[in-house]
Amino acid sequence: MSGATSDYTIAPDGSFTAPLELFYPYKRTVGPTLSRFLTGLRDQRVEGTRGKDGRVHVPPAEFDPVTGEPMTEWAEVGSQGSVVSWSWQPSPVDGNVLQHPFAWALIRLDGADTALLHGVDAGRSDAMTTGMRVRARWAEERTGSITDIACFEPVTSTAVVARGGS
């Protein structure tokens, strides 16, 4: 951490400007529920938790949003799904799932009742539509992380695979 005011500049109007670059590491202990979900991704398996009302949450909820009870019932869902909502990212930044333009999307996987946030490698924004079918593109090296799904990609009409899910 360097001193705060060593490299400031003075603008023509007399105002002072100094850079503030904040880099800060975090880690997560995810607990038993997300641990099972992430371990499943390593094995190309997507699992969610089933609430008291029968809804399947993917990614899994640790506690039932309705009752607050710990979620203990699991359901495997498909690795394909439908885009519920999306937003185009024309200028990816470091750490984004893709380093060329892509869509952030909420994706409801087949068999799930909630949506998962991930990137869709659609090439161009006009290739994106709400309701479009997408499938997971698995990373070659998987470590038990959400990035074990490298991204999602559009399912072309000629390549529709049977629906997965429970």
Binding site: G3, A4, Y26, T29, E62, F63, V66, T67, P70
Partner: protein
């Protein structure tokens, strides 16, 4: 107060440097389940939830109260978030208390937590903002000059900090939830502990902990009907002041003195050392025990260190301070203030187990935060106020 308020449930987690077995939600839930059990109640009977933690940057989860709604079974219930730096646990309990004393809610759950292993609190608190005074090397670097100022002003001998530290670390061994269990400290050994920020030695410094605490607060009719131990809230007080201003007394900030004076007045206490039977004081660096004894009115100016030296603040002393082991033994920052408030309540409820002091009728809980600028305090008692 329109309504009386009592603590009818206290629950805390086992505190540790890393609770790798749980998520933030799981950590919070562990404390909540224990608090609800001791209050003989359930989530469905809770009217509102008041939750606090230190700055969100510590874990990098922004507005975690939203993510925690599931774990708190809070869907459709009022959830109130409190932010006041290190004093937040105390401030949160006070806000929760006001939810009851105002007559708005009958039974309120309040929570303080921190999962410090998810980030690095020392550096999160030392961001070098342009054109501001740099706070190098975390809270210890900030507070050590203030401690030096106290030592110079009061003439305290150099071993007082170590005496406090050995007391608190020894007390912590009687508290199964405490983070540090280090039974073998002696004053001689403590004096050889490495110097981190002169005059603060390593043993005189709080750890970094993962932990949570929850309290169930209830109005008079529910507390009367509760067939378990309870601690009545006699008075609460909060004060704040800026970090820097000309002439500021950083050893005994005016906000601290004003907050204590307001608290004693509201609680009808004229001599704190005579009338308070147990103290849970926010002491993240050992020297703050004598400093706060003076600032809060337990000891005359410049005499706080003598109380430490004479054993007044030992568990067997006239004014037991931090029988739980205090912040020096357990420091999940956002929970630390509420731990002081909850441990004070436990002394009144006689549920403190091995670190229970005999015959506690009134106890004092204390929290401070920021650059010694945010203060929250309460007095709880066995009798109705």
């Amino acid at each position: 107060m329109a309504e009386r308020c009592a603590v009818i449930g206290v629950g805390q987690t086992k505190h540790a440097s890393c609770r790798a077995d749980v998520s933030i939600a799981g950590l919070v839930r562990e404390a909540v389940d224990r608090a609800l059990e001791s209050a003989h109640t359930t989530m469905t009977e809770i009217d509102a939830i008041v939750i606090g933690k230190a700055p969100d940057m510590l874990e990098g989860v922004m507005m975690p109260e939203l993510y925690l709604v599931d774990a708190l079974a809070a869907a459709g219930k009022p959830v109130f978030r409190v932010h006041t730096a290190g004093s937040v646990g105390g401030a949160t309990a006070i806000v929760a208390c006001q939810h009851v004393t105002s007559g708005v809610h009958r039974r309120v759950l309040t929570i303080g937590f921190e999962k410090q292993s998810d980030g690095n609190a020392m550096w999160a608190l030392s961001v070098p903002l342009p054109f501001g005074m740099p706070v190098h090397a975390g809270a210890g670097g900030y507070f050590s000059p203030i401690i030096r100022s106290y030592i110079k002003r009061s003439g305290a001998p150099g071993h007082i900090g170590c005496m406090v530290a050995v007391k608190d670390r020894t007390n912590a061994c009687k508290n199964p939830y405490a983070h540090l269990h280090e039974p073998d400290w002696t004053l001689e050994k403590a004096m050889e502990s490495p110097m981190l920020w002169d005059p603060v030695r390593m043993i005189e410094t709080c750890p970094s902990s993962d932990g949570a605490i929850a309290l169930v607060l209830a109005n008079e009719s529910i507390a009367d009907a509760h067939d378990g131990p309870k601690a009545w809230v006699h008075a609460t007080a909060m004060r704040s002041e800026p970090t820097q201003f000309a002439g500021r007394n950083q050893v005994s900030p005016k906000a601290s003195e004003d907050c204590a004076a307001d608290l004693w007045r509201k609680a009808g206490i004229t001599s704190p050392i005579e009338e308070i039977d147990a103290v849970e004081m926010y002491v993240p660096f050992a020297w703050f025990e004598p400093m706060w004894l003076e600032s809060l009115g337990f000891a005359p100016k410049d005499q706080g260190w003598r109380y430490v030296e004479d054993g007044v603040t030992e568990m067997s002393g006239r004014l037991p301070v931090n029988c739980s082991g205090g912040v020096l033994s357990t420091n999940p920052i956002g929970a630390s203030g509420m731990l002081r408030f909850g441990e004070a309540a436990m002394q009144v409820m006689r549920t403190a187990g091995e670190h229970q002091v005999d015959g506690v009728r009134k106890a004092f809980g204390h929290a401070y935060g920021g650059g010694s600028q945010f203060f929250a305090m309460w007095v709880v008692g066995a009798d109705k106020p």
